[in-house]
Symmetry: C2
Subunit: 540 residues, 2 copies
């Protein structure tokens, strides 16, 4: 017997409609590629999204068609989020930092029919779209008559398209499982794979994201996603902010410490989201400028493990609570959030930091398990590490354009991460399964080793990789980038580590480099590092 | 094109499974009918719910069968919530305060096959179940061997049933639209009508309930629903508390001020939920005892309009924020919540109170409109009043066992309420459409009149009704209950009102009574009051 409740599909257009009806005045502030600041609102975003939907329909975009973006976080990109998905087409956000061959592959694999791009990326367009693709229209995200230099002939101007269209548009009543957006995983090995989100998954994920134990988003917040809108839908913030009526601040292309700090102050931001590398730059700027954040309540750190020293700095110097979060492109991305439980309130600060440095606890909707190589579930004892599996209504069941997936079994997605789960449900990731160092049959966590090293004065960044060893199979090599002006030595780092990790985890060698290889999503490319140190001979 | 996300139904059993996996240690504390306090946990609730599901299956309960309860808020009732819905049957919570003829009607209309009852209600069972019904089993919510006096022969003891069953039970993977629970509206006219909730509506409602701008439920909360579990699923708190891992405190049968105050103190409750009459008793007790609440962060008031004086008292004397909420049995019930927006922060307290006394703003998922008699949408100007319509995925589309509904049109549910909506989206209910006083073609809001009167020193309760008038069609009569020991006069009340409502709203007469007729859900029965004052002759 079915219940007798209204059957209303969960749609991205219903989120936008709610925003327009119930908090149209809430601001959406955007820094643009041109360097201006555009002050809009959820009401204005809704109206312009309807014009945009009309424009895309005029360009021949059909339900299910893919519309690609190569764009920064701006109000125009936000309008594309709502218009493309709302009309039943699929928003395909492309990471502009990808190598050209991957860009080409992705455009072809997705079969995009329209490509919208910021002026910054105009030089990429001709080479990226050189190979045969179904691309029919190029749209520059600019004013009418201000097409960027280097844009191919026939490129249309976004504002000219909008100006030509009426504001009235009826969002279609779609099946809530309809595809809404597409984002390719960075794919360190093999071709990138597209994750195809649905309206349902996006709306459910927004609810989960906004919960008090999750990111706690409300209409009292001023939210600044420094995480790009081409990284897993800016972690779902555009939808969640519209749902709860948070003021949204979009930073445009300038993500350096000074620009972000300036924007935080000017817009009185309460809620920051981004990857550790961005925060490193921000904290460095704030320290040099001798200023403190005064309005920020929470800093959400994800995309890579947050070093405890970074968590401490935000909390100590700037009075902001750090929420360390874990997720993947395949998980929309929210999987876990690390918040203290009441039982931790009385702990000394150092122990609280250790809890916060974990990846956190799953919120309702997400289920996790860790298993051994044979697939047997392992205990949640905080010590036993295993392969992390995840499932839930906003977890991918497969990939766009691929019949099969070799990372899905028994209804679980196999993340490729290694981690442990403690008795209170906190996940701690210790490695990517391909990065873990296997020393004499035991695993050494490169992440823990790196976190410990990054707490050493004078160390700016550190990466651990396994190097072949005749007796132990592999032993750790630690690659360190010194902080500016620091003369920290290998012995200094080793002494620092001695009191922080078990003895057999201590790296057999420490090498200093000018910089680490960083991938298009801001993560250290361990594969490149391993290639660089291939044949490295460990001492004694 | 459909997205490629996991298809996982939203089920009440998935909420319980999450609670057991991720916060099994969080306490569920229950006062029982026997007078004891039972300390359980979400893990224990999950385990016992599985035993209970086995027991119900052994009793022959099939998917879709209705299992009725006549019970207080206790751990056993909570287990019934999860076991009955989780196994695919329908939990039918009956209000024990209903008149016997309605009880009989409801048991027959619902076609309950099992009836579970607290000892308190044993005397009701024989008369209620006297007429022919499909009832096959009676279960007393007691220890084995402790059947209550007056229970019919063959009554089973709840704990004996559980003890006989194993803990293993696989919750079925249901269609998320499957009916989960059934609650009859109080139905002041005609037969009560059953609202049939689904798993989907219950889970979505839980997300909405827990949001920061809604009730803001988290695992740091200790939640005490004084609102009964036979009133719209205790406003959805059992599901939402399990979802977020809030400690849950269940008060059992003793809802007097002293018992509730004692429980709040003993369990360090942070979050209270109930109707105004319960809070009146609590505040009176606290005042007499000269004690203050110290742990309570929020008091959710719903079910009837909260007088501004009550809101002020909680906030002033007890440091708790009042969240005034509106909803109905047909809306699961959450419709709107009144919270201050940032724009209100700088207002004087009296003006903030006026905002809080409104019914509040709709949260995402709920859409509202007000229309005139012809069905035309009215502006959100804070002044124009109209018929309130509501829709959303947790709003009823019809009623159990009824083909048609005369309160549903064009996809909207017609609430029977009269209200206005202001520019910031705050709903203010001014009346039930059947209670509004029509004076010379204009409407007088009985709720506003009553709220103004209840602010007068010496007035404990007030109710306004329309009395026929030769010239104006209807004019207001105000019926007042004096506070204990007060000698407040009609002139005192009139003088108090003169500065608070427009002149033509002033009641033509004020009558004092010992008490007002209160219905089974705690609301004043205006219909009874109108009958009592039928033929009343207004002065001059």
């Amino acid at each position: 017997m079915l219940g007798r409740m209204m059957e209303m599909p969960l749609l991205i257009s219903s989120v936008l409609r709610h925003a327009e009806r119930w908090h149209p005045w809430v601001e959406v502030v955007s820094r643009t590629v041109e360097g201006t600041t555009v002050r809009s609102s959820w009401g204005e975003v809704a109206r312009r999204s309807r014009r945009l939907a009309n424009a895309l329909r005029s360009l021949g975009v059909q339900p299910g068609d893919r519309v690609a973006t190569l764009a920064w976080n701006t109000h125009r990109h936000l309008e594309l989020y709502f218009a493309v998905s709302g009309m039943g087409a699929v928003l395909h956000t492309i990471n502009p930092r990808l190598p050209l061959d991957q860009l080409r592959f992705i455009l072809q694999d997705a079969g995009d029919v329209v490509l919208c791009f910021d002026a910054t990326f105009a030089p990429l367009i001709t080479p990226a779209a050189a190979a045969p693709t179904p691309l029919r229209h190029l749209v520059a995200l600019t004013e009418a008559g201000a097409l960027p230099a280097g844009a191919p002939d026939g490129t249309l101007a976004y504002e000219a398209l909008l100006a030509a269209e009426p504001e009235a548009f009826e969002w279609p009543e779609l099946d809530e499982r309809t595809a809404s957006s597409l984002c390719y995983t960075s794919g360190t090995a093999g071709h990138p794979k597209g994750v195809l989100y649905s309206h349902r998954s996006s709306v459910l994920h927004s609810w989960a994201l906004a919960l008090p134990d999750s990111l706690s988003l409300s209409t009292r917040d001023v939210t600044l996603p420094v995480v790009p809108m081409f990284h897993v839908n800016a972690w779902g913030i555009p939808y969640a902010a519209a749902m709860v009526g948070s003021k949204l601040v979009l930073p445009g292309p300038r993500l350096d410490g000074a620009s972000v700090a300036d924007l935080i102050g000017a817009e009185r931001v309460t809620n920051l989201l981004g990857v550790p590398t961005v925060w490193m730059a921000l904290l460095q700027h704030l320290e040099q400028a001798g200023t403190r954040l005064t309005t920020v309540d929470r800093v959400v750190i994800g995309g890579a493990a947050a070093p405890p020293s970074m968590i401490a700095k935000f909390q100590h110097d700037h009075g902001a609570t750090v929420l360390h979060a874990w997720g993947m492109t395949e998980t929309s991305p929210l999987g876990t959030v690390s918040r203290l439980l009441p039982v931790h309130d009385a702990l000394p600060e150092a122990e609280q930091l250790r809890v916060q440095a974990r990846q956190g606890r799953p919120i309702f909707g997400v289920d996790l398990r860790i298993v051994d190589d044979a697939g047997t579930a392992l205990p949640h004892d905080g010590a036993t590490a295993g392969h992390l599996h995840v499932r839930g209504p906003w977890v991918a069941s497969g990939y766009f354009n691929r019949e099969a997936s070799d990372t899905h079994h028994d209804g679980w997605f196999e993340t490729g991460d290694i981690g442990s789960i403690d008795a209170l449900g906190y996940l701690t990731l210790t490695d990517r399964s391909k990065d873990v160092i296997k020393s004499g049959g035991e695993w050494i966590s490169t992440i823990e080793l790196e976190n410990a090293a990054m707490g050493c004065a004078g160390v700016r960044q550190a990466a651990a990789i396994g190097v072949p060893h005749p007796k132990w199979l592999e032993r750790p090599l630690l690659v360190v980038v010194r902080a500016e002006g620091s003369g920290v030595s290998a012995d200094d780092v080793r002494r620092h580590l001695e009191s922080r990790v078990v003895k057999w985890w201590l790296p057999d060698a420490i090498e200093f480099v000018e910089q680490l290889p960083i991938g298009p999503t801001g993560k250290v490319l361990k594969r490149v590092l391993r290639e660089r140190f291939a044949g490295y001979v460990l001492p004694g």
